[in-house]
Amino acid sequence: MQLYDMPDARGHFGQFGGTFVAETLVEALEELRVMYEKYRHDPEFLAEFAYDLKHFVGRPSPIYHAKRLSDKVGGAQIYLKREDLNHTGAHKINNTIGQALLAKRMGKPRVIAETGAGQHGVATATIAARLGLECVVYMGSEDVKRQAPNVFRMKLLGATVVPVESGSKTLKDALNEAMRDWVTNVHNTFYIIGTVAGPHPYPMMVRDFQAVIGVEAKVQMMEMANRQPDAVVACVGGGSNAMGIFYPYIDVPNVRLIGVEAAGHGIETGMHAAPLTANSPVGVLHGNRTYLMQDADGQIIETHSVSAGLDYPGVGPEHAWLKDIKRAEYVAITDDEAMAAFHNLCRTEGIIPALESSHALAYAEKLAKTMRKDQIVLVNLSGRGDKDINTVAKLANITL
């Protein structure tokens, strides 16, 4: 069997990925590519990464058999990979530690990041504090409002949070602004991208740092159930938590990989953030070629999702590839369906999930219903919902 081996040396996943950046950034990316190649298999680097994942993040994150939820849904057994139990409350910290350790080795005293929900910003601020690096986080001004608790956490951790007022004032604009900072300050600055997007080597590097999720899950599933799951389900914004759990399973036969995008008010309304499910055209944004939500003029269009972390018009290039080669399937869940799954998990299992992860849960419930009781659906519970309580309260008309 031909083993999966992507991307190519220049970061292409078939027609997707690549390095579509202004000349001013080419040299910086080349430096990063060379450094990452040097360290990605370096035993000392990997040992330091593993040490921090264990002692600072609390890995391995457990897998939990959600029995009451499975019974209530009535179908396959639902297991949860508990990334919500990580330090800072989401999978994002895995990647920020990897990149920050690289920044340190490259002698860059300043790190910058973009953030949507604020989880990646908090994770970056956290590791920056721990390593004594200066930290600046760009965040769309809409998201600053939606995710106030995370803004405060970043500030407590010593980061500067810069609200971005351009464009749609959300995640994509924060990414633009971070790129602009990076071109201006490349000599002393490392840009920690929070998902499997951006120019090469980011999609590959972020995937590699997040792959610990799937590597652990493969071992844990054998311990708990003596078999691998029938389906692995994860939400997809840019797609880092999904790539992290999918990647080690790509070569495992008979495991369905299902990415869940945000259908917002419904794909048919146009107010969503689901480029793969909506069959959006191929385009170029943020340094790579991928499926992109855009109008006939090639302008990127505004997205909608109740969860800030999924509110992105593109998707990591490797997901575009996995869709095309049919190794992964992509579906979408509406705001309302995600909210229902959110409340369901709170009440039946005593776990408050992130709104992003609630999209994966909602689809897992639908899927499990169609399966036998002896089958298994593994959900990547990418984060906890503490950051979302204001959004949820507002939707339910509750004053905190």
């Binding site: 390095t19 000349e23 001013t24 080419v26 201006t184 490349v186 191929v282 070629r289 855009q294 003029d297």
Partner: protein, 268 residues
Amino acid sequence: MSRIQSTFTTLKQQGKTALIPYITAGDPHPKHTVNLMHTMVKNGADMIELGVPFSDPMADGPVIQRASERALVHKVGLTAVLNMVKEFRQTDQKTPIILMGYANPIEAIGATVFADRAKAADVDGVITVDYPPEECGDFVKELQARDIDPVFLLSPTTEPKRVDLIVSQASGFVYYVSLKGVTGAANLNIEEVSQRVASIREQTKLPVGVGFGIRDAATAMATAAIADAVVVGSRMVQTIEASNDDNLLHNVATLMTELKTAVDAAKK
């Protein structure tokens, strides 16, 4: 010979440096763009760089970002921009027009269709900010097959080996970005630029344009002494932004005259 090449040849014979103003098409309003282009030519523009508005102008600073946003309010996209060039060409068949923009609007219609339409509109050159040569081989071929010049950027961080690669793909001229950062930043170091331009000239016979950070007569004059073309962007856009419907053409004409005088006065 392309229109860009023959313009450079003529200027060289006269011992002159080209002045290339940049404006974003559709800014401040689509009704002004063609008039602005003619006004710039009348007051000293040797070529025009016409920005194609994009929703996510990652390489641009706040000034040109706002220009894009003003144009996008009126839905000015690639098709509208090409129509403006067509209209301009009805009375000016001489001045080279270089489109400057991002890859996605081109990808949306496809490289071949774009090249056909650009040719039909009589466009002379295309700068695609986020198409480095490694990623756009087919696109370059489509342009060159139609005698449209693909113009590439060189930056202060571009290694000599890459300069070789880039100039092997480019035609018309190469565009040296005179500072690290986005458009509109203000730390042009003329000494450094001069050294880099000299070393680029050792690697190519193509004319070398310099832009990013040229904001007044003084910087324009200093740059004109070492470059084959001086590109002025953010300063043009700032002047447009600060004008109203009544004084727009007058203010742009005044700025152009100032810049032209400075560029012509430069000692080569």
